[in-house]
């Protein structure tokens, strides 16, 4: 019955989107503008020698960062119609520090020599990456921010920080939760293809675990909580393989202190009690890992994508020889691709998969909120909800909270609602549907489905505005209310 209501809401949403879409295409061009063509690059114009480069307008940003971004150097000889000169303005804009960039040339000291002037208009570079907030059956409230200054004191170094604070949970033994993160990144060390980042993390967590009740009942009375603390850091060295691809080597070390209850058990509906593995060592332990992250992002517009693809692959492992108390490995993969199928119509495919092998600590296991965004995600690593996912297909997908194998395949359709040159630049309505699965290889002491597959449904509005990106979606709303 409930599932039917949700599906009906989704269908109503699709119908609403269709109506809006019809109104938006009044001035439609013919749909057949498929060929775009491209002529081969062939520099033309007079030969020039770059005598000097002047930078103007940078009151905050160090001049060397702008010079490094330019694809031309003093002393170079090239044609005035060279592609490097066409791209120069955009290479400086790609730094992300400037509202506008204007380039001009004037005569140099001798015939054929030119002086290049780069005039920049700086902009604010503080980014509010994320807002954390909501309330659920088990957490009365949580709130937090994730901020980054991308050009710290004009050095080109990014400094970011995040925090989440959650009120005392309703589960037995639960306390307040808080987590903090500090990040520093230099995406191009001394102008080279190498980047580096370090981050520190501290969390004081109160992790809920089920002690009673049916799997679809997320009420706080069915849960108890235990405390653990994490403190540590991560460092990474990034190699920019190409403008749109990068490979990062990662290392991490954390100290964990867990105050585990003695012999925790879960009482099943038939009255039996089964032991629970809380997936952490009691007392002090350490997590030490090394890993590799590959990322490729060819989307011309990552906010309202209409073409290109985005791939992420993260492999990480911890073992006692490098100081870890936990021997484990994780592999997380995501691939997304977008196609414009007609003017204003975009379809996309999103695939995510993850696997955890070995004796991984609790927070390294795949949480249901990582894979199903209709469930509250972990906020900076803290679990703030005990609400199970909707078991829409009746496959028992609500049984598993932490798993070792997970996957999601989702298709989305986005309708270009409008595009504008100022204020609100653009808006896309989208609907998506997919199949997800989270399974465990551990013995939970209860009958768990071996490979439960269920539905993911989402719809919403994405806005690209002068003051940032906003997304209003059904899944986001579901993850922030006490269900």
């Amino acid at each position: 019955m409930g599932a039917a209501r949700l599906v009906a809401a989704a269908i109503a949403t699709c119908a609403a989107l269709h109506l809006v879409g019809g109104a938006g295409t009044a001035a439609a061009q013919p749909a057949g503008e498929v060929p775009v063509g491209e002529l081969p690059r062939d520099p033309f114009g007079p030969l020039i020698v770059i005598e000097a480069i002047e930078v103007v307008g940078n009151t905050w940003t160090a001049e060397q960062h702008i010079r490094r971004a330019l694809p031309v150097r003093p002393g170079q000889t090239l044609r005035a119609g060279d592609d490097r000169l066409r791209a120069a303005r955009f290479k400086v804009l790609a730094l992300g520090y400037f509202r506008d960039v204007d380039l001009r040339m004037r005569k140099g000291s001798t015939r054929g020599h030119v002086i290049l002037t780069v005039r920049v208009v700086e902009r604010g570079t503080v980014v509010l990456n994320r807002l954390f907030f909501g309330n659920t059956l088990v957490t009365p409230w949580w709130a937090g921010l994730d901020l980054t200054e991308r050009n710290f004191f004009g050095t080109g170094v990014g400094v970011g920080g995040a925090f989440v604070v959650a009120g005392k949970g309703e589960a037995a033994g639960a306390g307040d939760q808080h987590a903090y993160q500090l990040r520093i990144e230099d995406s191009t060390l001394f102008g080279s293809a190498l980047g580096a980042h370090v981050s520190g993390y501290y969390a004081d967590a109160s992790e809920p675990y089920r002690v009673a009740g049916l799997t679809d009942d997320g009420a706080a009375a069915n849960f108890a909580a235990f405390d653990y603390r994490r403190a540590g850091g991560r460092a990474g060295l990034t190699l920019n393989l190409a403008p749109l691809s990068r490979l990062t080597a990662l290392a991490r070390f954390e100290r964990v202190y867990a105050d585990l209850p003695e012999a925790p058990t879960r009482t099943l509906s038939d009255g039996r009690s089964v032991p629970i593995d809380l997936l952490l060592d009691d007392g002090d332990s350490r997590v030490a890992t090394v890993g590799m992250l590959f990322e490729r992002d060819t989307r011309p517009d990552p906010i309202l994508p209409f073409a290109g693809d985005h791939t992420l692959v993260l492999a990480e492992g911890g073992a006692s020889p490098i100081g870890s108390s936990y021997d484990f490995a994780t592999l997380l993969v995501r691939h997304e691709r977008w196609w414009t199928v007609g003017p204003g119509h975009v379809v996309s495919l999103h695939m995510t998969g993850g696997a955890v092998v070995g004796d991984a600590p609790l927070f390294e296991h795949l949480h249901v909120g990582d894979i199903n965004r209709m469930v509250s995600p972990r906020a900076l690593g803290l679990v703030v909800s005990t609400t199970p996912p909707f078991d829409l297909l009746g496959t028992g997908s609500d049984e598993i909270t932490y798993g070792e194998l997970a996957g999601l395949v989702e298709g989305q359709y986005a309708y270009r609602l409008f595009r504008s040159k100022r204020g609100v630049y653009g808006g896309d309505l989208f609907v998506g549907a997919g199949l997800w699965s989270l399974t465990t290889t551990r013995d939970l002491g209860v009958d768990t489905p071996s490979f439960p597959v269920d539905l993911l449904l989402d719809a919403g509005l994405r806005l690209d505005t002068e003051i940032g990106i906003f997304e209003l979606s059904l899944a986001n709303a579901l993850g922030r209310v006490p269900l």
């Binding site: 119609g81 955009f90 990552p302 927070f363 979606s473």
Partner: protein, 223 residues
């Protein structure tokens, strides 16, 4: 209880959607508007030739920038459609017009590339250079064999000033999806995108300016 709350959440979400969604017709940006323009068509040999101009692609700023010493490019894409079958073009033609200002000789070097091959002209007048960049004169756009006598046709034209390749555009906006020091697949953070991200977000277009122009309908008369 849980499904009731779900319905409430869905209703709230739909209300929010209705409140936030801008009106499509009013919000259409200037870059998406289609202008109807009278163009000249003639049969030249075995081809249909087009004569038109689009000087409005150059505003004052673009006009000034021609003298900056950096190249200015105009890309023209021409699509010929049969009016009754506007789902696929009968023909497609690409024309690229470029100019650079030679600071030392004080001349504008204009190059055009298209169905007529490559042509380069030099002029001392900026206005003349702009004219050369924004006019098509007797440009062959389709073979007459592809245009039957009788049915109505029209030409759709997309004109871009200094278009940016998708790869360069992706490079310009990549920082949007790369917060400092965050590994996007870090299992301790959200697996999926953010609900909100606030920052100063200047508009970066795929071209400095884009015009979408459609011709009047026309047909071939029997001779």
């Amino acid at each position: 209880m849980r499904w009731g709350a779900t319905a409430c959440a869905a209703a709230l979400w739909l209300l929010g959607l209705a409140a936030l969604a801008p009106r499509p017709a009013a919000a259409q940006g200037a870059g998406n508007d289609i202008v109807i323009k009278r163009m000249g068509f003639a049969e030249r040999g075995r081809n249909l030739a087009l004569t038109t101009s689009f000087t409005e692609i150059f505003d004052r700023e673009a006009f000034e920038k021609i003298s900056s010493g950096f190249p200015t490019t105009v890309v023209v894409r021409l699509y010929l459609y049969r009016k009754a079958r506007a789902d696929a073009p009968v023909s497609f033609v690409l024309v690229q017009l470029e100019v650079v200002y030679d600071l030392w000789d004080e001349v504008y070097v204009v190059r055009s590339r298209g169905p007529l091959g490559q042509k380069q002209v030099r002029t001392r007048s900026r206005a003349e250079a702009v004219r050369a960049l924004s006019e098509l004169d007797q440009m062959p756009i389709a073979s007459l064999d592809d245009i039957p006598i009788g049915p109505h046709h029209f030409v759709a034209m997309v004109v871009e000033l200094n278009p940016v390749s998708e790869e360069l555009l992706a490079e310009m906006r990549r920082w949007l999806s790369r917060p400092a020091g965050e590994t996007s697949l870090d299992s301790s953070s959200s697996f999926f995108g953010s609900f909100v991200s606030v920052f100063v977000n200047p508009k970066l277009e795929q071209a400095d300016r884009t015009l979408r122009i459609r011709s009047q309908p026309f047909y071939r008369a029997p001779r």
